[in-house]
């Protein structure tokens, strides 16, 4: 076997290895999406779900720091995904004008809590903290958006604001990656 052929095979093996690293995050994202889409959902939910799955795969394949951010991002995203639904189920009266605010607040609070979880998790990393914050924040936002989509664009905006309030300063304060 000549060197070029071996180079090609080695490259293929490397990409397969990266795919293996991406698989747990991809599987978790797919499971989450399957759960959400199997329940009554908004018409835009499949688009967000597709973005989440593609994002999880892309992050898993891209870098080590991004690959290890997928699962924490998904786990953090469960908070804004389920808190609004719990708020509705708890009879907080979403649908009634006065109480809708509470459901919207649950999106904001969910975003803040999820952002806090991601920021706390990032402090345990020795390097790649900024990439971790960015990827976990994006994945968490997409996962949470599947829940806050119920409350329209304003719900999504509050969710993003919740994440941003915590993650932006954390990202700024995180050490810059060393030049390669």
């Amino acid at each position: 076997m000549d060197s070029t052929d071996l180079l090609r095979r080695a490259r293929f093996s490397y990409e397969l290895g990266r795919l293996r690293v991406a698989l747990p995050g991809l599987a978790a994202a797919a499971a989450l999406v399957a759960y959400v889409l199997n329940r009554p959902h908004q018409s835009q939910a499949p688009l967000l779900a597709a973005l989440l799955v593609v994002g999880a795969l892309g992050a898993g394949l891209w870098r080590r720091a991004s690959a290890r951010a997928v699962l924490p991002g998904l786990a953090a995203g469960l908070v804004p995904l389920f808190v609004p639904a719990l708020a509705m189920r708890a009879g907080m009266g979403c649908g009634l004008r006065d109480c809708t605010t509470l459901c919207l607040v649950s999106c904001l609070a969910g975003g803040i809590v999820a952002g806090g979880v991601i920021a706390w998790r990032s402090t345990t990393l020795a390097e790649g903290r900024r990439a971790f914050l960015a990827v976990a924040g994006a994945v968490g936002t997409l996962a949470g958006a599947l829940g806050c989509l119920e409350f329209g664009a304003f719900g999504l905006l509050l969710l993003v604001a919740g994440f941003a309030v915590i993650l932006s300063p954390t990202w700024v304060l995180a050490p810059r990656p060393a030049a390669a």
């Binding site: 076997m1 071996l6 180079l7 080695a10 093996s13 290895g17 690293v21 891209w62 790649g128």
Partner: protein
Amino acid sequence: MVRLANGDRRAFRAVFDALHPLVLRWCRRMLRNDADAEDATQVALEKLFFQLSDFDVRGDALGWALAVATAECRTLARKQTRRRETSDAPLASLAVDSDAERSVAREQLRAALGEVLGTMKPEDVQTLLAWIDLAPRPEVPGPTFRKRLERAVQRLRGAWRARYGLD
């Protein structure tokens, strides 16, 4: 290698160019055969790049790469030993298949059996010969004969093992 392990694909060519000759030299030294060394290098490099994403960047990159190559060389060497053993088996059966070989083997076996029987008690030998209809069967009930035969076979086995070291 640290950059590649972290996902920086721009480092791929440099890592490959550094590792390929190194692993090949290592495998040549281990296997002492160019063709085998190239086979082992190919598989080792594929495994190495497959596992590279798991590589602990604080560890010794060269040591890790050579450990993967060593494992692959050992596996290949073991496989080839096994293949050589199994490929010898059909040759052996072919040799025995020829009539001359078979009759020589039979004669050797008969001589070996004769030597072992010579060391046994005459009653046991008589029982064994009666079992294969080469001697008259003693006037004893069936169960008694079976019991004697069982003991005689056990003793034959023991004597054979003591002389030749195998069953």
